[in-house]
């Protein structure tokens, strides 16, 4: 049985969107898949040395809230930080791994991270903002792997 391949394209950079790529990648790696994640656009936020990801219910009507909050209130100063803190506390309380831990597990499991060079140029990021061990490349670089993958996910 040849090794299966999983390719993930991670385009989002908020706390809630950060979990799926790392959980899927680490689990696939645990199951023996060769896995690569291509981080582009806001997905690059997941590769920062110091993660400071936020989440908000604003524009996210699907987010479960302990009590309904009118949209105008969700936009008040401080609300985003508050909601991010609540989400992080909930995750800790329920025993969900932190993003840093999941990211480290992926690296340990030899999941390859590719960062989109175009996005780095676009937003004037510098390589030193990001964790070590990254490959910087473009879509064509990623297609080398993605084209052969059994599963390719766009997150």
């Amino acid at each position: 049985m040849s090794q299966k391949k999983l390719a993930i394209i991670a385009t989002k950079g908020t706390l809630d969107w950060a979990y799926p790529p790392f959980i899927l990648a680490s689990t696939a790696a645990a199951l023996g898949y060769e896995t690569q994640i291509f981080f582009t656009f806001y997905g690059l936020q997941l590769l920062r040395k110091k993660l400071d990801l936020q989440v908000t219910s604003l524009g996210n009507p699907a987010m479960p809230m302990p009590m309904p909050v009118p949209v105008l209130m969700q936009a008040l100063p401080g609300m985003q930080s508050f909601m991010t803190m609540m989400m992080k506390n909930k995750m800790k309380q329920k025993g969900v791994a932190s993003l840093e831990e999941l990211r480290d597990l992926c690296i340990e499991a030899e999941v390859k991270f590719i960062a989109c060079q175009m996005t780095v140029d676009l937003f004037d990021f510098s390589h030193s903002d990001f964790i070590d061990g990254l490959e910087f490349g473009g879509a064509a670089t990623f297609f080398e792997f993605a084209g052969e993958s059994d599963i390719c996910l766009y997150i």
């Binding site: 959980i23 680490s26 689990t27 645990a30 199951l31 023996g32 329920k94 025993g95 969900v96 791994a97 597990l105 340990e108 499991a109």
Partner: protein, 76 residues
């Protein structure tokens, strides 16, 4: 519970940690050895079943013990 060589306490950990820790621990064991895992995540029951199927390790036993879930996996 039958004999085992190593025990992994995954209580309080949620998906995907039980599987990831199990994989790591199995990596340190030799073929034929048995790993005993204790978990509280209800999702881990199905996860370990799938894990065994997909990695070729054998799930010898899967059960509930004192409110926690218990698994015996033999390394391929």
């Amino acid at each position: 519970m039958a004999n085992f060589d190593t025990e992994l306490d995954a209580t309080g950990l949620n998906c995907p940690l039980p599987i990831l820790r199990a994989k790591k621990t199995l990596g340190t064991m030799t073929s034929g050895q048995v790993l005993h895992i204790i978990a509280t995540d209800p999702g881990s029951v199905k996860d370990f079943d799938s894990f065994a199927k997909q990695t070729g390790n054998t799930l010898l036993e899967s059960g509930e013990e004192g409110g926690k879930f218990s698994f015996l996996i033999k390394k391929a």
